[in-house]
Symmetry: D2
Subunit: 332 residues, 4 copies
């Protein structure tokens, strides 16, 4: 199964992400309920932020389009992105008193992790369409859209406009469904907007459950991966990746091929961030022109590195780290 995806050549930027920027507060004392955790460590968080950091660590020229609160947390986010080599010119600052979204992690065991979210009045959801920089999208090879940014206006309209700009300029759209029930009003609303985003995307990544959400009004009662993939090839999609947790992922290509990728063994600390590092590693591979299979393997290795660490964003690996991990695993 070849990688037939042709990213536009000769652009000054490889990657731009749009959506959530927030703070993770990770439990320092783990393997216990959060009630008994007394201290937390602060990290930049949010799925598109993690992927963007991952891409930058892997050597890509990356930028972000988003909105931060006018507070200490917001300023920390901007400077962390900047320190990681990400262009933050497209990150605007809220002036209405919105706050930074928070995610407290609870790690009862490697298999029993949960998140306590603070999403009320979150600054990232206030990104407005007129704040989306068309130029940043036009000069990038790929735009990553995170589904949570569609959960509420005006961020929803900002993303819908970003999708339009990407199609207008031939920028490849990567849609990471990233469904989280917070903020959405109803599953029906979710289905409508996920569908609109998927219609305009070149690569769609999600779990089986996320695709079910998106297909709420489409039939596919059997939850067939093939039916799912076929639907989007009728629009703009070239690759559809459906994740099945511990059973690995399946990639479908427009030309009919499919590939099932396995996961690497890892000493799991927590499962958070696995999907984000997978996405960064996979996209890195595609941008290198590697086969879909090799790109998936690279994503899996990156995911294994992150889930064996305490953080998500801060643990995103460099290419050297992923290469070393793959080599070590092959000799184990």
């Amino acid at each position: 199964m070849e990688n037939t995806l042709a990213f536009p050549a000769g652009r000054p930027r490889d990657f731009v992400a749009i959506g959530r920027l927030c703070i993770d507060l990770n439990a320092n004392e783990i393997n216990r309920p959060m009630e008994e955790t007394m201290t937390f460590t602060k990290y930049v968080g949010g799925s598109p932020a993690n992927i963007c950091i991952g891409m930058s660590r892997l050597g890509h020229r990356a930028a972000f389009i988003g909105k931060i609160a006018d507070d200490q947390m917001g300023r920390f986010i901007r400077s962390y992105l900047h320190d990681n080599g990400i262009d933050t010119a497209g990150v605007t600052t809220d002036r209405t008193g919105a706050v930074t979204g928070l995610a407290f992690t609870e790690i009862k065991s490697p298999e029993d992790c949960s998140i306590l979210m603070y999403r009320d009045n979150a600054a990232d959801l206030l990104l407005a369409p007129e704040e989306v920089d068309e130029g940043l999208i036009a000069e990038s090879k790929a735009l990553l859209v995170s589904g949570t940014a569609l959960a509420k206006s005006p961020s929803r309209e900002a993303v819908l406009l970003a999708l339009r700009y990407a199609r207008k300029h031939g920028t490849k759209v990567v849609f990471d469904i990233d469904y989280r029930p917070y903020t959405w009003t109803s599953p029906e609303e979710t289905a409508v907007y996920y569908h609109l985003a998927a219609e305009k995307s070149d690569i769609i990544i999600g779990t089986r459950e996320e695709f079910d959400m998106l297909e709420r009004f489409d039939g596919n009662a059997a939850h067939s991966d093939e039916v799912t993939a076929a639907q989007w090839f009728g629009c703009h999609a070239e690759l559809v990746i459906i994740k099945h947790g511990k059973d690995g992922s399946i990639a479908y290509a427009r030309d009919g091929g499919s590939h099932r990728g396995a996961i690497f063994p890892a000493k799991i600390v927590k499962t958070f961030g696995a999907g984000d590092s997978y996405a960064a590693g996979f996209l890195h591979g595609l941008m290198q022109g590697w086969s879909v299979a090799r790109s998936m393997e690279y994503g899996s290795a990156a995911a294994s590195i992150v889930i064996s660490s305490h953080s998500c964003s801060d643990a995103m690996p460099t290419a050297e780290q992923v290469d070393a991990y793959i080599e070590t695993s092959q000799h184990a």
Copy 2:
């Protein structure tokens, strides 16, 4: 300029409209400010309701998809539609205490008319996507979408889903932009959703100002009708009608043709309802297989009848009335 629009054949229904159902309260004492108007007469109102009533009067099998309040006004609307031969199975009743939208008309002079709107907590904007009957759309030749129904959730999502159903089943989509600033949060939000609807439409009807609203992020600084039309021919549009008030309308066809239609002389009472009766008359012509020019003339005649009457919905003419009006005008 031929009518190349092929409405799907063999369907049990000609026409289904989705969107606003409200009450017009028309001033009985006119040619004065509303402060001095003491009595009002009640009519069914709302642009898509008017067009649907017009289509039914012109002999088409019509249905409506919408939501009414659980009150006397809502019940009046349902029974008026029913009495006019419109299928109301797709009209649901709100149970949350929403009210019926109102429009008080002020007629200071035939040239100086305005509307005082009550749109807070309006039942029609509570139509939810899961309440949209796919079957009604699948069995109709055309779906009329009114832009005001995109102004607020969940009606917005209901319309976006209806558009998807229409494209899935090959039902022709007629998009009447019908911009009204009430309810919308910002012009940017309006632009995003109007654009999404226009992308999925076969026929788009609006004033020059309405197209400018829709094209906010698209360039076209010169407000060129040709540029406007061309943009939509790149999507699904086959006909784009741009209205220029007293200067008549211009229709552009995908094949490159265009036709400028004139307006009929009329003894104007008020200008309300002109666009709705025009739309009904024009669509009637297209469905008869008439040329675009003849259809536009028919729409203009229907419009002239309505603006010389006190009401909108109640004045929607039958085919006999329009024919008679055209004949009389030609001999005048």
Copy 3:
């Protein structure tokens, strides 16, 4: 039972009311469901507005503190009050796009009347505390507070501040409970604010059901009028009037006396406005120094006049009309 209520002497104004200003749209075709009513006549409405108009018609120097929409309905209200001799300097105009509250009346029969209310985004509920003119209250003998104005912020705070000003200046407070479920969040919320207003009132007027609402957290499980009255005599109340519909009203005085007033026979058109005209007639009597009994009779006569008319505000009688009515009734 004497009238021991000492209104402050030597003030330039007799009466100021605070609260709801709205529009009644009264069915012209009556004795049928509203679905079949086709025309409506416009009147100024709202309980405190009606009482204020009544007081002015009965010869008192009256003023109003309230807020109107910046539209034709708002301007009609201001000019109608002004034309009825009421000082409107305390009536401010909303600039946020709020609308005028509406009340459509349905008169199925004299015994079966109902109201369809439009209270969303109503301008009268936007009266803010800083807009309450302390001077108007200081220079008036009595302040009438309508309970519906407590239903929502900031009107709620405006009324609470007006009550404080009245107590500070020795202006007698008349509290007309006027409970309407629209707008209130819960019966518990209603009970809390009604209680706060009653604590600061000199005269409290309400139906048995309204006093039950107010006493939700106070015991009085037997719904005893005596227990009700006694509670408020422990605060500032001097007169408590409990209305029992067709069974007439009972007035309790702080000194222990009570009087049961009867209602006049009337050819009833509708029951709306009975309470408002009763309140105006009763207060007129008290201000004349009449006994409580005579004041109640005068209120009843005024009520009978209004319920035999089509409107509320517009039917508020002059002293001559009430005198004539009483005389006619006594000879009948």
Copy 4:
């Protein structure tokens, strides 16, 4: 200046507090901007919670009336209160998905401390009037009301009802103004509700700025402490304490006396919690029957202990600690 305050005798409980329960996240790395703080320690917070914990540590039988989120933070709060000997039967659990209020502390220097608040959708503000346990108030000697609980409905109504219950049962009301701009809609709204609470209070504690807020509609342009105190002695107040920061506090008694208390020297870590520990120490003294002066000194000593510690709630001292502190200070 004697302590003439007669707390009701023979009650099974000394103290019940109503209002905010939240989480403090205190910077572990201090003397720097929060942007550079990487870890935070979790404590129970909220002014009335701190005072209640302080009272319990000082040996009083204490209870709390409030509302917690149905999450890990809420459960931590309940168990911490319980472990500190506080009765939590009056603490209800939200079921609507509200979150626990958060306060991140920033300690740039002992003199430059600030708080980043998360108050959107906070569970404590959802306490409803019907959830206020009249019995708990009836059986306590004193009720502490924190002003922030008046900032939003339904907590606002819950507090207003609690005040009514306290007056009904002769429970002494201590009103800690505790003004924080978050959540309040306007200074005018604040002034109205603070005034209503102060009218029903026996002891009122606040800074000069807080009393100015409360007196917004009352004149006192000179910000005179004497005028402030006199106003409340006209209602129910027996003691009014006005805090002037580093200049110490002044207590005014209804009988005309006043006492200025000094502050203890302390090695300040941060200023948070000073007012809460002061309040606990001062009330402890009053309940012991000590003079106002001695009670104020005791409050100051308790405050000094807290500001030299990292936390607020967790640093609330026992009587032994305060006694030792006073003794050490006197010999220093």
